[in-house]
Symmetry: C3
Subunit: 440 residues, 3 copies
């Protein structure tokens, strides 16, 4: 990717984020559908609607929630808090109300952050019925005694949980999965960065020659992934080579990933390799520090080879879960960096063949023109990489292992491996089973 | 254990130690029997007598040794060394003599420590016939030329080796073994601390609901354990889950343990976990630094999962194997600490189940009331421990592994595991084989 | 080996090196045959001649090269460069020529080292036909414009590749292989040190009682080993216990070895153990830094347990591949050190039995006289080693493992192991398969 291309791509992603930002997303409801419709202009999404009450492992799909309006007015009729202005003002899954309350009564339903007085916090109550408003602490301290008109015109009724997915067929039915979520209201890093990066990643995949079949999944967090796994686990256990969950991947700070349970899946190896090669100062979070949908994919018995890719991880930046997590925190440059991190991961997966040298003892490179005739520093490095690859191409090391052993990016070795295949010196001896099966 | 309880227990243990201290123990003889009789007032001991000449693996039970009196008198008839005053004065297994000797002749049979002039050394000659007296170096240097009357009225004849054991039945026939020895004359850390702590540990075990059957063994060191293993090896190989040898466990200095041959048995894991959690400054001795009955339990082909628990290990304190190893070195507080170390080890063994979460993906804790409704620092820590336990409850980790992974004591996790079992979220999936069988 | 013996041996090796030094060796040709004839005065070599054009795995035996004379003369007829003075002056495998050239034309065929102005470089062109002269840079800069008479009376024609081997039968057909090469012209460390040390090693082996059969191989590098493996691979895969390639083993600087592909063969373990015990400051080169015939023996599918033993490794000393690598760099002392390193490796292989103690629990050493009766520092160390060996003699550790565990040289443990075998306490339980088979 050229820098100019990266700039342009970043701008396009940021534009999509701006388009999606105002929509009121939640676990369920029309905001999710609208979000999927916007994404559907870019991708051939397949939409799914799962009825409330449907069981999925230990969980049940909740009722659907929609909001027409929600506000607080003071006695003179000034609308001092309005859902229309910022959808974080309303606690997610708030039940309806239309009443006049004293300030004391109202306070019981207000949420603010004393140590971040200008932030509206993000609060939900998915599985216990109640209502509430979220305000800046600065505003809350200005509220005077008196009566307040509180109105929430919301609806909590049997409906559906909405999600979308689609697959991009490749040369083999083995799958790479990319999942992200569409349940967060107006916040940017957590979580518009995930669906936005996933969208442009899918566009890139569609433009490539690819060995794997790619599956892109847009779901509400937790319940959405649980429903998705409930419906697709057997298939994924047979097909999935590797997977990545995208979350908090659009700010300009660090790079990180959240490991799987034992940090030993192909997804872990790829994420570590890419970050070691491109951002060696990255942060590696253990599964004890998990918090996104890796929780489901790496649960006991599910055991799919997936990790979560992040720039600054959820819970690790001060704007997290507040109105300060906005489109100044998430930038075109930040999104472009997150995109490149994820794209490299897919690229490494594609290139990660296992090779076996076809002759005993060293092959004679000279007569095949595989030794550079002009000796430069670069050609010397390439020859060194080539002979090292031949040395370890014994059918037990994939390209990633060899790259880690040599301390070079696997994408530097891939062209050399291809030359050796073309010269009939390397055979591809990939396992006939995807990583998800091998791990069980 | 409350501190007051610990104090009381320490006092009781020290009282028992004081009662046992004057008895002249050795590999065999009436002192061993008398010691077992005193312990038999506390525990339902089963007594065993093994005839001299009995083979046990590479060894033969030696003749029984008893002493009626032993002294040295100077020419004027002053009894300058008397076995009645301190039984360390007589070399263990000394043959009888009644003779007048010159000082030069006497010197050949005297043992003292030049660098510890006030200590009577502990010397034995179990397998070669000879006689000797042990004295302080200070006294030895005062001896004047002249003739000395030496009398040892001892008997070395075919008799028996005495030992005792008993089992406390538990819910399962799988066994935890505690072994210690009763062959050391008047010394306190090495070795009255072992039998005293073992006695009170047995009392505690008898008062508990327990999954394991417990076996307590009181034998003379080396030959006693070899005889014991010769008689019980097949049984222990089928039943023994874990075992602890107690020695030098009553002083107030550090904590330590002597590992098994490869440091990988359940006993090693438990001892390390308890010490890391309670006394992180503990000393870990490899099997190369062994010296007590772990030598037999961890010998090739025996391979039972046992380690030795110590406060300050044999050979590591200056009073070792001298009259200075007395009941001022071993204190009520020292014994209470040793007891608590050993008790924790048994507790961890009892709690060390392997669990498997019963649903796929994360269980919904909220609807089961397993999330604290009031959020405090403690409840947050408990929730974190609970979700971590669920994450790793995949049937491949026992409670110890999870505790080590989380860096918390396993006894903090046990109540959480029980709540998850009660909530029908955890199944117990323990191996049907005890650790001794699995290891083979 | 006594120091005086080492001195004498060093002198004998240096004398042999001096005898071999002037001969013009190459991949093929009469210089190789003459070298093998000189070595044949010391060893019962079996000579082999392999026709040009013979296939060996990915390679073909090249044509044979011989030189009658080669020189450059200036216009007045002064012979300014003469192959007779130093055979490095002629590029290896130079084609014939007899012509007058301008200085500019001549320059195209001259090789020198600007940063080592007094060194004649070592240059070859085995697989591409050309001609050239190698000169010191100092001489090159003195060349004046004018015409030069260049004459190379060489012959490149179908002939043979020459090599030699022989075996020294031992108690078992399992083999230890020592290989080195005879294709380098007048250089000393790389490579007369290898064949010289191998020759004296073979003499030592022939004088020993030996459990293994020894195979000594003298070949041209790369193509020679490839031919050798092509002819002997099946046999070696069945018989080879361990092997060592000798190269650059005669200077006085450090000690090092080049590891096999995964650094886990018996050869790796032996080389590391010997160097840790004798030269703890040694350098361990990974297979990524290989460059000698370990490249072939450790290639995928060949997988024989061999490492390369070096003093200062090829490419790691400034004189490498120049006329400065001469018999002042390689000394009697340097050769003696290299010999001793290699001899220790063979000795450790011979001693490396796996033992199993024959009784359960500790054996009683006292009644067998295996405890020293006089207690000295040395006897205490020996007793400690003996009990440690008994503890780990469980049939899963070879002598090397135990020595590494105890941190002592295995040759200190060997006599103790023999005493325990003699006392009927140890059984030898070696694997019935050689290391090369086990590794597959």
């Amino acid at each position: 990717v050229q820098d100019a291309d990266a700039d342009a791509l970043g701008q396009q992603m940021h534009a999509l984020a701006r388009e999606l930002f105002p929509i009121c997303r939640s676990l369920t409801g029309d905001g999710v559908r609208e979000t999927l419709s916007v994404l559907g202009k870019h991708l051939p999404l397949e939409r799914h609607e799962v009825p409330s009450g449907t069981s999925a492992f230990d969980w049940i799909v909740p009722r659907e929630w929609n909001v027409r309006e929600a506000f607080i007015e003071d006695e003179p009729g000034h609308r001092i808090v309005d859902f229309k202005k910022h959808n974080l003002h309303l606690m997610g899954y708030s039940t309806p109300i239309d009443a006049w309350l004293s300030l004391a009564e109202l306070q019981e339903h207000l949420y603010s952050l004393e140590d971040q007085p200008d932030a509206i916090p993000y609060v939900t109550s998915y599985y216990k019925e109640r209502w509430g408003f979220c305000v800046t602490h600065r505003q809350r301290t200005t509220l005077k005694d008196g009566r307040y008109h509180v109105r929430i015109d919301s609806e909590l009724r049997d409906g559906h949980l909405s999600y979308a997915d689609f697959t991009v067929p490749g040369e083999t039915p083995r799958e790479v999965l990319v999942t992200t979520y569409v349940c967060h209201p107006s916040m940017a890093n957590n979580e518009l960065s995930g669906p936005v990066v996933a969208t442009f990643l899918a566009k890139w995949v569609m433009a490539q020659t690819r060995r794997f079949t790619y599956r892109f999944v847009f779901v509400p967090e937790t319940i959405g992934s649980i429903v998705y796994l409930n419906r697709n686990l057997a298939h994924l256990k047979h097909r999935m080579e590797v997977g990545f969950n995208l979350s908090c991947i659009g700010d300009e700070r660090g790079y990180s990933y959240v490991a799987s349970r034992y940090e030993n899946t192909l997804a872990d190896r790829i994420a570590r390799h890419v970050l070691r090669s491109t951002h060696p100062e990255f942060v590696r979070y253990s599964f004890l520090e998990r918090g996104s949908d890796e929780r489901q994919y790496s649960a006991p018995g599910v055991d799919l080879p997936l990790v979560t890719l992040c720039r600054t991880k959820f819970g690790q930046y001060p704007e997290y879960h507040t109105s300060l997590d906005d489109l100044t925190l998430v930038t075109a440059e930040g999104l472009a960096g997150g995109y490149e991190f994820a794209r490299r991961c897919l690229e490494v997966a594609e290139q990660n063949h296992t090779y076996r040298v076809k002759c005993l003892c060293e092959p004679q490179l000279g007569r095949r023109g595989l030794y550079s005739t002009v000796s430069t520093r670069d050609s010397w490095r390439e020859t060194k990489s080539m002979t090292a690859m031949i040395a370890y191409a014994d059918g037990s090391n994939d390209l990633l292992s060899i790259a880690e052993r040599l301390g070079v990016p696997s994408w530097d070795l891939d062209p050399i491996a291809r030359r050796l295949v073309d010269a009939d010196l390397f055979a591809v001896v990939d396992s006939p089973m995807p990583a998800s099966v091998l791990r069980v």
